[in-house]
Amino acid sequence: MMELLQYEFIRNAIMAGILASISCGIIGVYVVVKRIVFISGGIAHASFGGIGLGYYLGINPILGVLPFSIASALSMGWVSKRSRLPEDTAIGILWAMGMSIGIILVSLTPGYAPDLMTYLFGNILTVPFSDIVLMLVLDAIIILVVYSFYKEFLALCFDEEFATVRGVHAERLYLVMLCLIALTIVVLIRVVGIILVIALLTIPAAMSRQFTSNLKKMMLLSILFGAVFSSGGIWLSYLFDVPSGATIVLVMSAVYLLYSLVKGISS
């Protein structure tokens, strides 16, 4: 594997994998313990509207995703808390709406949409350096916000009602958390694509839960798992010339299944 590191695209890929592991390691823990996997999947898929917007405006699609995913996060959070619809129904509607907007905008764009598959399924081997800089900035924002609101986020996840009684603005804070999920999705799109994002948000966090009952340790451990598995996935995808995003996800899920199986047998 060492001789691979002489290629710049491999170094970029590994760097992107590590940056992705940091954001999904931290935010994925919240997604798993607060049990908001479905709404996270919804935000991710609805973000496809942002890809369409990027193509339509002729800008870097990632820059289209950034505002669009934040907008989907805010509207999903708001609708799921305030509307009279059941939460999962409201999320399901917005999920499909965002994707549909994306499909219409792509079809309205004259000419052929290059790299569309890259945004849907990821291709970590083609990450340009400019996107790595963007990932670095988003990671820094995520770390800063989580550091500032750590105790409030913990209370919000554990017992939203009690947090409210103790003066935490639970609804606002929940929206902040959903926005962090949106930022994480932007970081992850290059790595695994919109469709597979949910795997990186759940598998490393779920695995780390098996080893510790402390939220901070869970975060550190899932960052480590994410980094190891994404590097492994990159290597395998290069070796067998298969799509990197799907390989990373399969490596993660295979390890998790094996671990659960072994644990199930031994207990």
């Binding site: 609101f149 913990l154 017992d159 009690f162 409210t164 009684v165 009952s213 939220l215």
Partner: protein
């Protein structure tokens, strides 16, 4: 409006869920050092009444004042022990972290917990005899121990009013006795309101009793009339009074 002496004043409060009334024409005054038990059938609006006092449920009509202010302003003085059973026992959080949550209102955003916060949390844990379990994950404790942790969390805020929702549920009789003895001690420092569907457990210990079944029957005392109880429980209830303490028994 000068109601400073009164802890809670509720005037003609109505609460509707989807136009179905849950609380009707509630009038209630809770005074300093009151130890009030509110009994009633499940679904009679007991938890909702506590949530009205906490400002978590907005009444469709009526006035609620807590320490002379709105519940949103005054809830920093309220300790709340929610119905236990609503927790995710798999949640990765330690006893210490849970009890510190009781201090959230005392530290600002962006700040770590202060030394004062930690001292208050330690005191609360000590009071509940749970210091040795400080670093344990909450889900790994027994039901009774978890219950103590949630009371410690409420006490960590040094409340002037303590609200307990079905506190006796899920703990065995011996621990219940200890628990009520603890409340006896606490009531010198704060007003206490506990709601329960179980008349017999509550009535022995509290100083005042109210009945709630959408409407509240309360005479600022431990006296309940047979009519009150019948209106609350919709079945014949017999009152047996042997002087003090009162025993209220239900006949089935």
């Amino acid at each position: 409006m000068n109601m400073t002496a009164d802890v809670v004043v509720i005037k003609d409060v109505w609460v509707h869920y989807d136009s179905i009334p849950v609380l009707e024409e509630i009038n209630l005054v809770i005074k300093e050092h009151d130890f009030l038990g509110i009994i009633g059938v499940n679904g009679g609006g007991k938890s909702t009444l506590l949530k009205v006092i906490l400002g978590l449920v907005k009444p469709s009509k009526g006035i609620v004042r807590v320490f002379g202010d709105t519940p949103q302003i005054s809830r920093k003085y309220i300790g709340y022990v929610p119905q236990y059973s609503l927790f995710d026992l798999e949640f990765p959080v330690s006893v210490w972290e849970v009890v510190l949550m009781g201090r959230l209102g005392h530290t600002g955003l962006f700040k770590r917990y202060s030394e004062d916060d930690k001292r208050a949390a330690l005191d609360a844990l000590a009071k509940m005899d749970m210091l040795e379990y400080k670093d344990r994950q909450v889900g790994k404790l027994s039901g009774g121990q978890q219950h103590r942790v949630f009371i410690a969390r409420a006490l960590a805020a040094n409340p002037k009013l303590l609200l307990l929702d079905e506190p006796a549920a899920g703990i065995d009789t011996i621990i219940q006795e200890e628990f009520y003895e603890l409340l006896e001690k606490l009531k010198t420092k704060m007003a206490i309101v506990l709601v329960s569907h179980d008349i017999s457990a509550v009535s022995v210990y509290v100083d005042k009793i109210a009945c709630l079944n959408h409407r509240l029957y309360y005479h600022d005392s431990k006296e309940l009339t047979a009519e009150d109880l019948e209106a609350t429980y919709h079945c014949p209830v017999e009152l047996i009074a042997h002087g003090v303490p009162h025993r209220v028994l239900k006949k089935h």
